[in-house]
């Protein structure tokens, strides 16, 4: 794949991820604790890992977090909060994906990524609030993250098949 095509595709991925996180923010989730969300943008992270690799996926996550902080507001704190979860889950998912698709299914990789995301965010929150008590939300986050990770993994699997048939990545 030549460089221009790659740049364009990654740009499209960033915009898709942004749109997904905006749509996600419109869907209210009744949850007893803060931080429960669908994690739809993770579909794009998984697809980028599959078709490009770790470096490209980290870039997409980084640009997505920068742009969503600019558009969504919230400043440095929310940026650091989203980037920490994003980077940790991308690292975990890339390692699992590289270590062999015959060992892990996309669904399993996605669940691991969701858990890593939650843990990364709690660590950053605990660091900035200087209080480990923020971890009281962890049980609920881990359960909801695993459930959503499962569905995000399913969707990513379907999307992978559809994208392979289009041959745009050849």
């Amino acid at each position: 794949m030549n460089k221009v095509k790659k740049t364009i595709l990654l740009g499209v991925f960033v915009s898709q991820a942004l749109i997904l996180s905006i749509i996600e923010s419109w869907i209210p989730i009744p949850a007893p604790v803060p931080g429960v969300k669908l994690g739809l943008a993770n579909i794009i992270t998984i697809i980028t890992i599959m078709f490009f690799g770790f470096r490209e996926a980290i870039s997409v996550v980084f640009v997505r977090c920068v742009l969503s902080s600019i558009f969504g507001g919230g400043g440095w704190m929310l940026f650091l909060f989203s980037i920490s979860g994003g980077v940790l889950s991308t690292v975990v998912m890339s390692v699992l994906y590289k270590s062999g698709r015959n060992k892990f299914s996309i669904t399993g990789i996605s669940i691991a990524g969701a858990i890593a995301h939650n843990i990364g965010q709690i660590l950053v929150a605990a660091f900035f609030m200087k209080d480990l008590a923020v971890a009281v939300v962890l049980p609920v986050l881990l359960v909801s993250g695993s459930i959503m990770g499962f569905f995000v993994g399913l969707v990513s699997g379907f999307l992978e098949g559809a994208l392979r048939r289009t041959r745009i990545f050849d």
């Binding site: 892990f104 049980p139 881990l142």
Partner: protein, 126 residues
């Protein structure tokens, strides 16, 4: 569709979830029957400490900063009532009623949490 390695991930997830549930329930049950003290913290500094069981009239506390939060206290409960931060996570958390409950406004670095304070007498003098 499920592969061998998935079982490892699932097992790991179940262990993590179980461990966090146990940890939180230990934390919440420690110091039971204690008075419920709500603490408001801004920029890692405690700005107010309220015995919420002793509150008779509802009152509002305004926390000013990069963003502004209004904290509402009633008998036995406390919450973020309003905030002008963009994500409103703190307001959506709702009422805090039990020890260990907590609401955080990350953009404003403000946190309310309920701590227990033991009723035990420290020293008795005559």
């Amino acid at each position: 569709m499920l592969k061998k390695g998935d079982l490892i991930i699932l097992g790991f997830a179940i262990i993590l979830i179980a461990a966090s549930f146990i940890g939180v329930s230990i934390y919440k049950s420690s110091g039971e029957n204690a008075r419920k003290i709500a603490v408001i913290i801004k920029d890692n500094q405690e700005i107010k400490r309220i015995d919420i069981d002793a509150v008779s009239e509802p009152m509002e506390i305004t926390v000013l900063g990069e963003y502004n939060d209004i904290v509402l206290v009633e008998k036995g409960r406390i919450r973020f009532k309003e905030a002008d931060c963009p994500d409103k996570v703190c307001v959506n958390t709702g009422w805090l009623t039990e020890k260990g409950d907590m609401a955080v406004c990350l953009p404003n670095k403000t946190m309310i949490k309920i701590e227990g304070q033991s009723d035990d007498v420290d020293i008795v003098t005559y």
